[in-house]
């Protein structure tokens, strides 16, 4: 052939007119646009959520220090990362013009603060602002305005400085980070710090250097600064500062990736089906071309080039569709989504293109490559069959390539293995069960009425093809089931994580003698308060007699750690023992239970001897158990727990938690006035944020699910239409022989319904297996067998496939038989 490129283009155009490329192209388009849409959407969502949680820090990375940091730290930050800001936080008495005084938590801000998130300030007179205060001006939290009996425009005194109130602080992004500096907020400019003269050597101050920039630059800076950190200095990143949010985000990401992978699997299945059909439809054409002198190579070049064109078309158009889809989804969610609308970046398009290439190479190409081997003899002997166009090796290769793709999307071996494994189960079982049952049904069919006999005979005659269809339907239904099941339990458990009334305030440092008055205070106000736990600040000094180094320059390996120690004989809710055992109630042994991350930090395992120091006391305990702690629960959680009797020996303070409705917030001032010595930690904002994120991500997940559902439907349609030609031909003959429309349509409906029921059974078996692995291993959720799904799967499978199939084959009875026979 002279110009294969031109010829392949002609072939493509002709095939397009023949309507055969439509299915293949749609399947490819589906794959590309699905990947681009989901990955684009996930990217943007993730980016926004990260931004959102970054706003908890007001930065992407924070260096926190209890003393002023060397100026090089900031210079280096400016050089490597670019954007910086700073905050200096301390407690100070604030005095108003009316001589009212109140202890405020002062935050002096400078540089680009806040780098993430924004301030919200009521400037008075119906104006609102988001800028940081100018030097000479301050913003006051509403409670401080109230306590000081002051107003916008008045002056307040912080140490020696006189500053003017520029507005009421309604919201600050980093209000919840770091449990220090309690009391209502005052925000001022760092340039005024010196004038206040408040900061003296020895005063308790937290300095923070805020950084925002690219992940790489941040990583570089992190590596640079980490070795220089000394005691009292640490790095805060999004995940560490808000473990609850970090874990929530991670889970959301995991689910979205899972959804994306399932989407691609569905698309690949659709492509496989479409290419198979394409190949089968082209067998005769190739035989004729070969009889006319086309060589194997010509045929292969021709189809390879055609696929290339198809790929180019699918990638470009699919990327466009994908972009539109993700943008539509995003815009639909934009109101609810946190942060500014962001761009997708190029990764989704690259991912989409690679997906298309893999799908073409491993799913579309094998059946077409085999066309090269079609015997030209077919032109004289119609019955010269070609080997089944899908071979075990194809399936194996396809599965591996899909696995590779998924691994690439998710970098998650477990996820990939779970999905591939469950597909394997469905496929393997599918072919055995389907073929076995199909031959069984033939027996029943032969003794049944004519409609049934026709249906079952049809199913059986198409043996492998029917089994293939059943498997494809099974996979599609299975993936959809997995997705819905995981989604349901994910969302349920998420929502259960922070139920209504979760304590949103913590009280620390309650002296034992204050216990009774405190409880009375809450009782009078009808506020429910949690149990009181004893707590003591302590430090782990040695493990098995080896002294741990302090936090210092080379910050690798086990280190000393300080923590709040508590005691209880009842294992806290939501804690899970990972190794060792919980002690008996009333135990007086010297035991300790560690949180697993903490145990890692100090390098301890069950049975190790730890030397602890509380106040001036040093003593040795044995690690009895290591626990996982559910940080997402926002419950009081402890790194270190003793048996009750052990901690009794030490002076302790008490701590507890309580829940306040938003409109009861003023109780906080009452409480602090009533008992000024306590430390109050307000986590209501953080809890609200987590709830918002959960709500938003849930909505996103519902949306993604909807797209996947469409993909699943397309697979079903492709699967159904794969046998339409043959059926059309057959029933045209049958109709010519005098079969009634009702008989034919009935037979088609029964056949598809039976395949659907079979597929339903397979899907349920596969999805239970996949669900178990995914839920327990990947999303770390409990697994429950969804018994309800079993009958539902069978019924829905037969209903959906039955009606889809009947619909797709409606031409079987509507088209005049002559026309059908002529076309085929």
């Amino acid at each position: 052939m002279k110009s294969p490129i031109a010829a392949s283009l002609r072939l493509l155009v002709r095939d397009w007119r023949g309507g055969e490329l439509g299915v293949l192209l749609s399947a490819l388009l589906l794959a590309v646009s699905l990947v681009v849409a989901i990955s684009g959407f996930v990217n943007r969502l993730q980016f926004n959520l990260e931004r959102e949680s970054a706003s908890f820090l007001a930065a992407d990375l924070v260096v926190s220090s209890s003393r002023a940091m060397p100026p090089e730290w900031q210079e280096e930050a400016l050089n490597t990362v670019g954007v910086t800001g700073e905050t200096v936080t301390f407690s100070s008495m604030v005095i108003s013009e009316s001589d009212d005084m109140f202890l405020a938590s002062v935050k002096a801000v400078g540089g680009g603060y806040p780098l993430r998130g924004s301030l919200r300030v009521d400037l008075g007179g119906g104006r609102y602002g988001a800028d940081t205060p100018e030097p000479g001006y301050v913003y006051l939290a509403p409670r401080l305005v109230q306590q000081l009996d002051t107003a916008v425009g008045d002056e307040v005194y912080v140490g020696d400085a006189t500053l003017r109130v520029a507005g009421t602080l309604l919201d600050e992004p980093d209000s919840t980070t770091g449990f220090f500096g309690y009391g209502p907020r005052l925000v001022m400019h760092v340039d005024d710090l010196d004038a206040t003269g408040v900061i003296q050597p020895g005063s308790r101050v937290t300095y923070r250097l805020l950084l925002a920039g690219s992940t790489g630059a941040l990583e570089q800076y992190k590596n640079w600064v980490e070795p220089q950190l000394v005691q009292g200095q640490r790095l805060l990143s999004v995940d560490e500062s808000q473990p609850g949010i970090g874990a929530t985000l991670e889970r959301a990401r995991g689910f979205l990736l899972l959804a994306g992978s399932l989407g691609v699997m569905l698309a690949a299945a659709a492509i496989l089906v479409a290419a198979r059909r394409f190949g089968e439809r082209h067998t005769d054409q190739v035989a004729v071309m070969k009889s006319l002198g086309a060589t194997k190579k010509t045929i292969r070049t021709l189809y390879a080039l055609s696929l290339t064109w198809l790929g180019i078309l699918a990638i470009s158009v699919g990327s466009g569709i994908g972009w539109l889809a993700q943008d539509a989804m995003f815009t639909a969610l934009a109101d609810q989504l946190p942060g500014e609308v962001t761009r997708t970046g190029v990764t989704p398009y690259v991912t989409g293109a690679v997906t298309a290439l893999v799908c073409i190479a491993f799913f579309a190409w094998p059946p077409l490559a085999r066309l090269g081997a079609v015997s030209p003899l077919r032109v004289i002997r119609r019955e010269t069959t070609i080997a089944d166009s899908t071979r075990a090796t194809d399936l194996l290769l396809g599965t591996f390539s899909l696995g590779g793709l998924m691994l690439w999307y998710s970098s998650d071996i477990k996820l990939t293995a779970a999905l591939l494994g469950s597909i394997g189960i469905t496929v393997g079982l599918g072919f055995f069960v389907a073929r076995g049952l199909l031959s069984g049904t033939r027996q029943i069919g032969s003794s049944a009425g004519s409609v049934w006999r026709l249906a079952l005979a049809g199913m059986q005659r198409r043996g492998t093809a029917s089994a293939f269809q059943v498997v494809i339907f099974g996979i599609a239904i299975m993936l959809l089931l997995v997705l819905t099941a995981v989604r349901t339990s994910l969302l349920d458990q998420w929502r259960l994580q922070i139920p209504e009334g979760t304590p949103n305030h913590f009280i620390l440092n309650v002296a034992p003698i204050d216990e009774a008055p405190l409880l009375q205070f809450f009782a009078e106000r009808d506020i429910e308060v949690g149990d009181l736990y004893p707590a003591a600040r302590g430090r782990v000094m040695e493990v098995n007699g080896d002294t741990l180094p302090e936090w210092g320059p080379d910050a690798t390996g086990p280190r000393q750690r300080e923590a709040n120690f508590t005691s209880t004989d009842a294992k806290p809710d939501g804690n899970e023992i990972l190794s060792g055992e919980w002690w008996a109630v009333g135990s007086d042994e010297s035991l300790i239970s560690l949180e697993d991350g903490f145990a890692d930090d100090i390098g301890a395992k069950v049975g190790d001897q730890l030397t602890l120091r509380i106040a001036a006391d040093e003593f040795v305990v044995t690690v009895a158990s290591i626990r996982s702690v559910n940080w997402e629960s926002m419950q009081p959680n402890f790194f270190v727990i003793f048996p009750e009797k052990l901690l009794d020996r030490f002076p302790t303070t008490l701590f507890t938690s309580f829940y306040l409705e938003p409109d009861e917030k003023y109780r906080v001032s009452e409480l602090l006035e009533f008992m000024p010595t306590i430390t109050l930690i307000e986590v209501d904002v953080a809890i609200q944020e987590i709830k918002t994120i959960i709500d938003q991500v849930s909505q996103a997940i519902e949306l993604v699910l909807l797209i996947i559902l469409v993909a699943g439907a397309l697979v079903l349609i492709a699967g159904v239409s794969s046998s339409v030609d043959e059926r059309l031909h057959e029933s045209a003959i049958l109709r010519a022989l005098g079969a009634g429309r009702a008989t034919l349509l009935g037979a088609v409906a029964i056949e598809f319904a039976a395949m659907g029921a079979l597929a339903g059974v397979l899907a349920i078996m596969g999805s239970e297996a996949a669900g178990w692995v995914l839920q327990t291993q990947m999303l770390e959720l409990d697994y429950q067998v969804q018994w309800l799904l079993w009958p539902l799967g069978v019924i829905l499978g037969s209903l959906i496939i039955g009606s889809l199939g009947t619909f797709a084959c409606r031409r079987v009875v509507s088209a005049p038989p002559l026309q059908v026979l002529r076309e085929l």
Binding site: K2, R10, G18, L292, T295, K297, I380, R381, R822
Partner: protein, 221 residues
């Protein structure tokens, strides 16, 4: 032009080895017209397929224009076909996705001809379908489809044309027209014509008549 010696073809079936062709010796000269007749199942199509290089024999040699095609691999035979062999089939074998014109252009394109379109248009008008160039096979009658197939076969100017029951699907009158067309073109182009047929009028028009009986070939008197 065509020569076979001791051509055998047998296939393995579930029960036994089935000998379809036994020791065929045949020689057909350039420009000759030959008809192969015989009862159904006697092996006529099988022989035609072998001669055209669509299949390989179990034993024996086949010379097409002095090339032993048995020694060629499938692709080499394909190239040979595109240069020297044309086909007309009982069931027409037009590609449904292509128009009449494109069907005729196909072998020309495969042979790498630049003038594919002009040639195709020319041959289609010669078979009387000049007005229906852009029609699809399904919109043509059986006779018209067979005329497209004949145009396709002759357009590539083959040395040999094989036809397997070219009139088998057509009524007598239409069949007669097709026969006229075949022989007319055969004379104009000097093509060697080998056809399998049940149609006696057609067989009688040929210079030679070969009879196939149970896999063996004999010349009619």
């Amino acid at each position: 032009m065509i020569k076979t010696s001791q051509l055998n073809k047998s296939v393995k079936t579930a029960e036994a080895e089935l000998e379809i062709l036994r020791g065929i010796d045949l020689e057909i000269k350039r420009g000759e017209t030959a008809a192969i007749v015989g009862t159904s199942g006697s092996g006529k199509s099988t022989l035609l397929g072998l001669l055209a290089g669509l299949d390989s024999p179990s034993a024996g040699a086949i010379y097409l224009d002095n090339t032993n095609i048995v020694q060629l691999d499938e692709d080499e035979r394909a190239v040979l076909r595109s240069q020297k062999v044309g086909f007309v089939f009982q069931s027409f074998q037009l590609l449904p996705a292509l128009t009449a014109l494109e069907n005729v252009m196909l072998p020309l394109e495969l042979a790498g001809r630049d003038d594919a379109r002009i040639m195709a248009e020319d041959y289609l008008s010669r078979v009387g379908l000049g007005e229906r160039l852009h029609h699809y096979p399904r919109t043509l009658s059986g006779g018209e489809q067979q005329r497209v197939a004949i145009a396709r076969a002759f357009a590539a100017k083959p040395l040999i044309l094989f036809a397997d029951e070219p009139t088998g699907n057509l009524d007598t009158a239409t069949g007669a027209k097709i026969i006229e067309l075949l022989f007319g073109l055969n004379e104009e182009e000097g093509t060697t014509l080998v056809l399998v047929t049940h149609d006696n009028t057609l067989a009688d028009r040929c210079q030679r008549k070969l009879i196939m009986t149970a896999g063996q070939l004999s010349e009619a008197a």
